[in-house]
Structures are given as C-alpha cells and as structure tokens.
C-alpha cells in the first residue's frame, strides 16, 4: 500500500526545517518512522482530526484515540511554487505544496512527490509515501495513487 523512499547513508546532510515531536505528536512521528500513518479519532463522535492534540476539538467530554489510517486521499488544493517559499528550498525547482483530504476526512499539508508538478490537479487520488529525511525523522508525503 505504501512505498518507502529512503536516502542513501552517505546523503548530504538534510538542511530543511525538521519537526520537533511533542508529547501530543510523538505517536504520529513514531508511526511515520515505521511508514505507517496514525491520526486521532474522537471516541464520542468518531470524527478524525489532524494535527495531533491533547484536547479534543469535538467536545470537552471527549477523548481522542490513535487510529492507523489508509494513507489514501485526494488533492484538495495545491500550488506549484515557482519561487522558493523558504531559503532551504532555493534549489528545488518548481515544487508542489498541497492540502490533502484524507479519505477519513481530515486535511493535511504535504508535498505531492514522484510526479511532474504539471500533472497535479484537484481531486487527484494520492497515497502516503514516507521520506526518511534523517535517522530520527520521517516526513509523510503523498504521491499519485
């Protein structure tokens, strides 16, 4: 279902900003490192929510539980950055920043990779892919399904 994109051991150091996992998000990042997508779900309403939280946005009497999800979704919207959005992206050429609508409902931002930016369109089916950018951090990305 998902496909790993790993870096060779001798790769140049990863210079882009890295996430700093918190007590709320550690299960998400631990799962990403195992190439699994874990998000939270309301025990009360069954609705999913992203990003990870320690308090439920669905009600003060609610609790959130972690659930492994399919990693499937569609491109809700996107842009192709022709100018870098940050200095660390200066040499990346045009790249896609997208909001992905997961089939479970929540939206998350990621890059759409492994395809020509010209082929990306709204509604395009995508699936999670995992980029092991450092030994500690794996970024969840999306590629055409």
């Amino acid at each position: 279902m998902t496909e790993a994109t790993t870096q060779p051991a001798e790769a140049t150091p990863y210079l882009k900003p890295l996430p700093e996992p918190t007590t709320a998000s550690k299960p998400y990042w631990d799962a990403a490192r195992e190439h699994r997508l874990l998000i939270q779900r309301s025990k009360k309403t069954g609705e999913y929510v992203f990003y990870p939280r320690i308090v439920s946005p669905f009600g003060i009497d609610d609790e959130l539980e972690w659930v492994e999800v399919s990693g499937r979704g569609t491109v809700y919207t996107y842009t192709v950055a022709h100018r870098p959005t940050g200095p660390q992206w200066a040499n990346d050429g045009p790249y896609v920043i997208a909001i992905i609508a997961l089939e479970e409902g929540p939206r998350m931002t990621a890059n759409v990779v492994e395809c020509d930016p010209k082929d990306v369109h709204i509604g395009m089916p995508v699936v999670a892919t995992y980029d092991d950018v450092t030994p500690e951090v794996t970024l969840v990305q999306f590629r055409p399904a």
């Binding site: 842009t79 959005t85 970024l139």
Partner: protein
C-alpha cells in the same frame, strides 16, 4: 450592547511607505506616527488616555508600556492586538469597545514596521519563523506545515485561488482587473509606493508566476511604514478640527490559523464578521460608498467582495467585470491604491484600510476623493484568511 455611533475616528497619520528603513527603531516610528495622529486630531498627548499597539521589534512584550513611557503618557487603558493583518481594524473595534464601556475616553491605535536590508537574510531568519521573523517552535505550524515549505502567506493564498477556480468560474483576467483598478487609484495618491506607475491587465498576466496561479503583480510588496488612528467619544468629536468618521459597527470572526485547517477555503469567516457589522450598523450593502478591503492578494479582494455580501458567492468574477472598481467608478474600492499598490508595511498596511476609509468620510481624499462619501466598509484580514474584522464607518451618528 452596540458600538453604534458611540465613538469616532478624529485623527489619522500615516508614513509614506518605503522599501527600507535605515537605523530606525519601530519604537521611534510608533511614537512619531502616534504623535502625528494625535496632533491631526487637534489633541495633546495628555488628552489621550488609551494606548493600543501591537508587540513590536523592540518590545516583544510590554509593548504598550514601552510606548507610553517613550511618549510620557499616562493611560487608563493599554492593550496589545495580535490579529495579523486585521490588527488595524481590530484596534478600532477594541478602542470603540473600551471607550463605550467607560474605561477611557480617547485612544491612539498605532502600528509601524521597520525593514532593513540585512534583516531579510540574517542567521536569525529561519524557515520556522513564519510571517514575522520571530523564532517559534513547538507550534502546529512549525511541526506540520514548515517542513513542507508551507511558509509565509503566498502559498496559502495560491491554494485558495486554485480551490476557488475549481469550484466557481473565475478568469485570470478578472483577478488582474482588481490589481489594475487599484493601481489606477494609486496613481492618484502621491503617497502610494507605485504612484506614477500605471499597469494594464496584460502587465499583470505577463508578470512572473510566483506560486500558481498567483503572479507577481497580484501579490503585495512588503515595505516599511507606519499608521495611527485616534478614536474618541462621539461627544468629543464635534469640537475637533476634522469631520468625524463615526464608528457605526464592528464584527469579527476567527476560525483557524493555518489554511490547512480552515473550515472552508472559499466561504470564509468574513461572512460572519461582515454580517455582524452590517447588522450592528443598521446599514445595507448598497448604502456603502467606499469599500476598503484588505488586499494582500487579488484573490483576497475577490473573496471579500463575495463574503462581505457585495457579490453573490461564486459570482465575484462577474462582479469585477460588471463594476468599475476605481475611486471614480460605481464601486469605489481601496482609493489609496490598496496594499497591492500603496505597499504593505506589516500591520500598518492593514491599518491603511482604516486610515483611508476615515479620510474618505472626512472628505480628505484629495485627488482620489470618492464623491458623496457617507458610509465606508472596512475589512481587515489576518494570516491566511484567519482573523477577520469588519467595520462600518459613517459621516453621521
């Protein structure tokens, strides 16, 4: 309790935007523009008992106290407003609320942004610094957006524009017309950054693609500048030198910080803010003589025209085609040129929509004065369609 007619804008001041400042402090700029606005209102510093400011470069905390001390003031009401681009409009609503509640009588609302050449690329400027250059970590944004290059605002508005054109008809020419009309206005405002530089629809469409589908001339130019507004009790206003611009209403909505998590990308929180403001003012959309709409991008204006209720949802493009948005047209929009052509001096850029609306009501629009200007609608927009503050100003209580 309604704010209607209880307060008025009686003084404004604004610096001509510049690309860079050299050796200035934001504190000094704030003090200078605040003093100018107070003088414009015909008041003395000691007659102002309220200070509203944003946190600024030299005062990331204790901002009001820092500025009050610098100006030798004594205030009964001090506040920091943190609503991004809606900060200017939000300052006015809070000044009106504080005065109406009897906490103080006259408030100076002050914004300024310095901008030095080296500050754009120094070692402190990291990708996680977001909009302001301040370092922030352990935020959802730093953790879930920044690693993907989702930094700044351009990408977010581009994603909104793409989604909009997926859901509704809108041509690049229609978006470009917004930028062209505002440039026409700026060419009647010697203080505008792009004064004397008219543009055409073709110029916009031929300008470099930055983040699809937004081109260079659809994106604001960051500049340095400052703006301040004095709000006082309506009872005080009549004896002051300028015709007052009465605060008739305010409305506000916030639903998200990051566009990923917005309830909708195309039906925005402006709707609730504007509905509340029009209801409080008792004014109809068709009564508005000038619209002063936050315009960080052309798509922002289009969404505001719809969600503030001037155009039907999905028909903003048609509205742009069927109206003349110039200050001398049938739907005067951003007579000062908007931030697209006046320049975006941080939150002072957002405040420029307040100062311009007030000047138009006061009859101080000079070469760009909108004729018979009785009612103005202002919308401030912070972040990526995050914080929305709508105001209605009027020539009469």
């Amino acid at each position: 309790m309604s704010l209607r007619g209880k307060t008025a804008i009686v003084g404004v001041a604004e610096f001509k935007p510049s690309r860079y400042t050299e050796g200035e402090t934001t504190l000094g700029m704030l003090a200078k523009v605040a003093s100018q606005a107070i003088a414009d209102a015909g008041l003395e510093l000691r007659e102002v008992d309220g200070m509203i400011v944003e946190s600024f470069a030299e005062a990331p905390f204790m901002a009001p106290a820092t500025l009050i001390e610098y100006l030798g003031m004594t205030c009964r009401f001090s506040e920091v407003i943190d609503l991004g681009g809606a900060t200017g409009a939000g300052m006015i609503s809070r000044a009106a609320a504080a005065i109406s509640a009897g906490l103080c009588e006259t408030v100076v609302c002050t914004t300024a942004t310095r901008r030095e050449k080296r500050s754009t690329s120094g070692p402190k400027r990291t990708a996680s610094s977001g909009f302001t250059g301040r370092l922030v970590d352990r935020t959802p944004t730093a953790e879930f957006e920044v690693p993907y290059g989702a930094i700044g605002a351009n990408y977010g508005y581009a994603m909104i524009a793409h989604r909009y054109t997926h859901e509704y008809p809108l041509s690049p020419e229609q978006l470009a017309k917004i930028a062209v009309a505002q440039r026409y206005n700026a060419c009647h405002n010697p203080d505008a950054l792009f004064y004397g530089q008219p543009i055409t629809v073709d110029d916009v469409l031929n300008s470099p693609m930055i983040v699809e589908p937004l081109r260079l001339l659809e994106i604001v130019m960051p500049v340095a500048g400052a703006a301040a507004v004095v709000v006082t009790k309506a009872e005080n206003a009549a004896r002051l030198p300028h015709r007052p611009a009465y605060v008739l209403a305010a409305g506000e909505r916030t639903t998200h910080k990051t566009i990923t998590y917005a309830p909708s990308l195309t039906d925005t929180a402006i709707r609730g803010a504007a509905d509340d403001a029009f209801k409080m003012a008792g004014v109809r959309r068709e009564d508005i003589d000038v619209a002063s709409l936050y315009d960080c991008y052309t798509i922002t204006v289009l969404l505001t025209l719809e969600d503030a209720g001037f155009a039907e949802k999905g028909r903003g493009g048609e509205f742009v085609d069927s109206h003349n948005l110039q200050f001398d047209g049938d739907f005067p929009l951003n007579p000062h040129g908007g931030q697209l052509s006046f320049g975006q001096a941080g939150t002072a850029g957002g405040m420029s929509h307040v100062t311009e609306a007030a000047r138009q009501i006061m009859g101080r629009g000079e070469a760009r004065q909108v004729r018979e200007c009785e009612f103005a609608f202002v919308n401030g927009n912070g972040g990526i369609m995050s914080d929305q503050v709508s105001l209605v100003l009027g020539a009469n209580r």
